[in-house]
């Protein structure tokens, strides 16, 4: 396909096909990401929202039962930071400051014990059914 009389344009043509493929790939990835976000949004709206209050060195309620896709928000009403940390390494809020909150979407059915890594007496559990 390379025409012998147009040496100068040859390199440009050689790049054209890969550039096209690359653009297509970028477009596909972008579309995929967008679809993923839209699906996630839809799933989030479909799930229920639950609240766990952290106060007086306790998670209230201590055990929360949710369905897959439900959102759980922990609100720290104490005077110092707390964490919501899975004992099995599934999730970790890192320190939540007083009056701040942290949200987690429970996806897989199961029982998930969690603790506050800063305070030894604080324990909670999420049951996803």
């Amino acid at each position: 396909m390379v025409r012998p009389h147009s040496d100068r344009s040859a390199p440009a043509r050689r790049y054209r096909a890969p550039v096209l493929i690359l653009s297509l790939a970028v477009a596909l990835v972008a579309a995929g990401t967008l679809t993923g976000h839209a699906a996630q949004r839809a799933k989030r709206t479909a799930g229920h929202a639950h609240t766990v209050i952290i106060e007086g060195m306790a998670f209230k309620p201590q055990v929360i039962v949710v369905h897959p896709g439900d959102r759980i928000t922990w609100i720290n009403k104490d005077l110092f930071p707390h964490t919501v940390t899975s004992t099995a390494g599934k999730f970790d809020s890192h320190p939540i400051d007083p009056d701040a909150s942290w949200t987690y979407v429970a996806r897989k059915p199961g029982e998930y014990d969690y603790v506050c890594t800063l305070h030894v007496t604080m324990k909670g559990r999420i049951e996803v059914r």
Partner: protein, 175 residues
Amino acid sequence: MMKRAVYLLGAVLGAGMALASAQGLPTDPQIAAIVVAANQVDINAGKLAEHKAHAADVRAFAKRMVTDHTGVNKAAVALVTKLHVTPEGNATAESLRQGGEQNIANLKTLKGAAFDKAYIDHEVTYHQAVLDAMDKALIPGAKNPELKALLVKVRPAFVDHLEHAKHIQSKLGGQ
């Protein structure tokens, strides 16, 4: 009839308060001073230990004490300011403050494992003493419902810190 009932109520309340002061229950301004002194003592010890302690879990505990007790003190100061309660010095607050100073002076003479042990031993005793004071004097003595509510709210923090300190104490003892 109504007037008599009010007088009677007043007499009963008066007798109750007389009994309360006979038992040595502190007033709200005294409670405010005790709460601030109690937290400050543990913040000071924690500030020293978070740098000087040898074991990582002792340093982490000290850092936790500084953060948590600073949070409690900020809330206590904000509340008494809002309530226009002026903290009033008293024997309990003073003995807490003196005990804290003695503890710091002693800790400054120690290093390494000996420092860790002395700091943690004192933390166990201190949190137990503050819990006893809360249960026997501060919570029963608090008249203002918001002050009482704050004390009730922070009590579990002292329980948690005591458990945490005891846990470290048992580990240090086993070494």
